[in-house]
Amino acid sequence: MFTALFLFFLWRPISLGTTTGLFTALKHAFRRPVTLQYPTEQPVLAPRFMAHPVLTWDFEVDEPYCTGCLICMKICPTDVITVSMKDNEKFASEDSKRRKIVDDFKLDVADCIMCGLCVDYCNFDAIVMSDHFDASVDNRSNLVHDLQTLLDEGKGQQEKGRWSPPATKKSQRRSAAQAKVSKPSSSEEAKESTSEENEIETD
């Protein structure tokens, strides 16, 4: 009886201000926790998630897509990419259409800021941003990825379906471009633009 009386008279005073906060906190206790128990519970990554860039593999010709054109090296804001190119042996034997091919590719993940500019600017769709977000290693030198590691990681990404081959991508892009702008799609301008792209940092 006392308690009922007490609550009846005190309800108005206590249903104000600070006490609202107290009851809000109490309400939270009956909700499901939002914690993600990270190592045991892996986060669901968005399809566009960007970790460091990796290189893709052309399974048809059995060689990397990358021709070593250096555009990623030029566009990279933090200069973490080092590329060199060589003549493609498969081109001589007419197995491949690529005249040049990547010789060496070094990526220093320690300095990579995962901005995705290299993927944007690659003309051959040879780079894809991986979903390898837990990049911690014991030794800093292990963060410098060489060509083989990057290609292996890229194959993993391709298997996961985080990257589609350039043929489909390019046709998509073309159709999208046609839908977008009424741009005169002359081959001359296309050539111009590629030549422009390639001399991106000439000043």
């Binding site: 006392f2 009386l5 007490f6 008279f9 005190l10 108005r12 005073p13 206590i14 104000l16 201000g17 600070t18 906060g21 107290l22 809000t24 906190a25 109490l26 939270h28 206790a29 909700r31 499901r32 926790p33 939002v34 914690t35 128990q37």
Partner: protein
Amino acid sequence: MNISDYISIFAIVFVMFNGILGSVLVVIYGERKVLARLQQRIGPSRTGPWGILQTLADAVKLVLKEDIRPQNSDRIIFYLAPLIIFTPIFMLWVVLPFGSGLVLGDIDLGLFYVSALLGLSVVGMVAAGWSSNSKYAMLGSARSAAQLISYELPLILSILSVGLFAQLFTDNPFNLSSIVNAQAGLPFIFVMPLAFVLFLIGGLAETARIPFDIPHADEEIVGGAFVEYSGIRWGAFQLSEYTGLITMAFLASILFLGGWSGPFSDKFVWLQPFYISSKTAFIILLAFWIRAPLPRLRIDQLMAFAWKAIIPISFANFILVSLVVFIGDRISLPIFQIQLILGLLNLISMIALAYLLTSRRKRRLAVYRERWGEK
């Protein structure tokens, strides 16, 4: 005293000490879990099943940590300060009864002993802050001195009003066991809820918990008096803080919630410790709940709250209780009627106070309403 007496004393002290240490571990774990749930988190979950070994692991870490003493600090006082805080709170447990007869020293002036020892921890805080030769620690110890002394008054006044009221039931009103026995019929919380609320506020402030955690104030003075301590000494401070919390809750359950008494507690003695510890746990949970969403007061607001609101109310409550007991005793009313009268008076005064506070709160809220309007 022969050797077996010494051994038994040693064994009892050993069991008590370790029991308190263990309960501190449980309370810290409970605080982390409860706070986490109040914030939609999980809390410790990795060490052991449901993370129950987390506090133990933390304690082991603290023990193994390097013990650092700042340069130019006062070495002796610096090393003594944790002990000065630590000891009186443990000494309190000598008189606290877990069940009828289940107490180390059932002294007649138990309430005085308790209130005397409660006041001692401030010495340790000041010693810690002064000796560590750090400005943050100094500020923290000055703050805690001011706060602990201010809130001692309402605490002791509400303890004394319990003692006064217990006079009606026993010849030994300051003995904690007889206070519990006096509550076999009706726990004192129903008779004097005002004193209970005052005791809770005073207890929260004494143990420096939010919203009264100004001595620590992690966002301003980063831990206050213990800022320079590390390792096991810091752990000792932490231990005494949480022991203080448990002690306060235990005292509250003895003084107001009827201690070990409960249904069937007379028949089954083993129920008594269970009752008292669950009552203690309830009070501790209340403190955790209050901690979650409330901000901290500023030092001047805290002092104003103590000296302008809480202390006058405690004096009024003390006078009210003594008048009722005195007059009721003189005209030899039955105890039940005294209880009823006191309870009703308390209730009326609490409602009056609440409405008084509400009008004050409304004035405060007017700041919000006038500026931003009802949307």
